[in-house]
Amino acid sequence: MKRSPLKPKGGLYYYMQSTSGIVGALLLLFMVIVSICAVFGWLPHDPLEQNVEFAMQGPSTTFWFGTDEFGRDIFSRSLDGMRRSLTVSVSAVSIAATIGVTLGILSGYLGRWFDQLIVRLSDVIFAFPAILLALAIVSTLGNSWYQTSLAIAVVYTPIFIRVARGPVLTVKEMDYVKVTRILGFSSLRILRKHILPNVTAPIVVQVALSLSWAILTESGLSFLGLGTQPPNASLGLMVSEAQPIAAFAWWALFFPSAFITIVVVGLNLVGDGLRDALDPARRSS
């Protein structure tokens, strides 16, 4: 267990050693840039604009990813959809991580009944398959982006509680921490200097992984029609819309799917890279 905060420079240096980590980061960066373009509307075409005369055309110089049955540009829609997926996922995971980590640390540190309560609560949520729970919550709350985001946040909070709680429990029992408590150091200081450094690494890794799951869940929800509503673009929704025409217009199915896959791969590689970079044992398996 580390005794001092890992210098960011050190972690970054090790991260750069891993090719997969770099690849992942690049893929992720690509998607983030793409989404930013979508946010500012820097798209070749309006994602909602229907050009019926160009419907069901394959990739061309005007429509890079081709068009769907309504003549909408799949490229622009994919970018817009990516933006939506990322927005929902990032906000969901931010909420889940903030609440989860806080609860996890508090739970581990304070112990006793509070700890038991939190653990039971998170077990309850863990008992549900992710999509199912998100489905159920979305069905009651509604499916605007922030409601979907909230639903996904609920689903992924327990894992953060667990990830944060673990190191806290271990470190709490270490002799050197016990000594500081005897010496009368304030809890806050112990938390900051000893517990936080050991908790940051697993959490950062978990954020990357949870983001990838969140994107899959969000696209799953929109595929089922319970996320973004038409005519807005969402990657899952686009796949769903592509179902009837996929045999004649493979691009309508391929490109949104590829986007989802790329961002999930990117996040997973980044997560692995982070894990290897931040793990003191630094094993490359």
């Binding site: 008992a127 398959p129 999509i131 199912l132 990838s212 899952g236 199915l253």
Partner: protein
């Protein structure tokens, strides 16, 4: 901590095996499900009654009222629901007038069969690829294996399903799921064909984490001292592989399989939808779109109970395999 010890710790630290804890968790789950669905304004539940009353008999409406605990305070509503649920009154479906309990009884076996097939396929694939990868770590085959694992994880189930459906139905004109669903005991051959593709999609989703676990468990075990002892005794390499390496790697693999089986239940929602399998997943989805809250509530509850049951079973199996755990 090794993979095996870590998974042991996780399983042991979850209160699953202590009976009291199981019940507390189930209790917590029921409250959770109850609360989540109570966010819905009461009038829409009652409102539904008014519109669809034609389908339900007076007795059924009465039962439904007890199920929902209409006109009672919130805590009483919960108690009313729990009492109904535990005595078999899972409410009634507005659109069809059939009791949800019987709908569930019909749908549950389908989902369980699907999940089983998916798990078996996934575990076989996962262990195969994982072993293949672990033989020569860092080699091309390892890279290929890990790439497979990554793709299996990253390509969403619905994408895979849609692709399969498109190719099979349109290019090969082979689509068993286009026909009406048959049960396993009615026509085993047809049933298995109908389960094949959805099972495969779910299996691929399971294969990814199983492959990862297998690979890391094998790699970790291979370096262990007792493997060296076995080789040093003159045990032939096949027996070293099976009796020493594999047997010790099993524990995390079994644990992971158990966890995955549970998550398959969720993945089944999408797959059942695309392949038109009349299982619990489709039931829930249908109920959500039709605003049949009783169905959603009961079905989600059933799912959770199933999940916990699987965890318990996994835990029991796991205890049989690892003699270090004391009963």
């Amino acid at each position: 901590m090794s993979v095996g010890e870590r998974t042991s710790r996780i399983l042991l630290s979850t209160p699953v095996l202590r009976i009291g804890s199981i019940f507390t968790t189930l209790f917590g789950i029921s409250i959770f499900v109850f609360l989540v669905l109570r966010v819905i304004p009461g009038d829409s539940i009652v409102g539904a009654f008014g519109i669809e009353t034609g389908v339900l008999t007076p007795e059924q409406i009465a039962q439904l009222k007890i199920y929902y605990g209409i006109d009672k305070s919130l805590p009483m509503q919960y108690i009313s629901w729990m009492q109904s649920f535990l005595t078999g009154n899972m409410g009634y479906s507005y659109s069809t007038g059939i009791s949800i309990a019987s709908l569930t009884a019909k749908a549950l076996p389908v989902t369980i069969e699907l999940a089983l097939i998916g798990t078996i396929l996934g575990v076989v694939m996962g262990i195969a690829v994982g072993t293949f990868s672990a033989r020569k770590p860092g080699s091309i085959r390892d890279f290929a294996g890990q790439l497979f694992g990554l793709m299996a994880l990253a390509v969403p189930g619905f994408v895979l399903s849609t692709t399969i459906v498109t190719i099979m139905a349109n290019k090969f004109h082979y689509f068993p799921n286009g026909y009406e669903f048959v049960r396993l005991w009615e026509d085993p051959w047809m049933n298995l064909q109908q389960m094949l593709f959805p099972g495969l999609v779910l299996g691929i989703a399971v294969a990814a984490p199983v492959m990862r676990t297998t690979r890391s468990a094998l790699l970790e075990t291979v370096d262990k001292d007792f493997v060296r002892t076995a080789i040093g005794k003159g045990v032939n390499s096949r027996k070293v592989q099976t009796r020493h390496i594999l047997r010790n790697s099993l524990i995390p693999i079994v644990t992971m399989t158990g966890i995955q089986f549970g998550y398959l239940l969720g993945g089944a929602v999408i797959v059942e939808n695309i392949f038109s399998l009349p299982g619990m997943g489709r039931q829930v989805l249908y109920a959500i779109t039709k605003r049949e809250y009783a169905t959603v509530q009961s079905s989600v509850m059933v799912f959770a109970i199933l999940f916990i049951t699987i965890n318990v079973i996994t835990d029991l199996i796991y205890r049989k395999i690892d003699p270090r755990i004391k009963q």
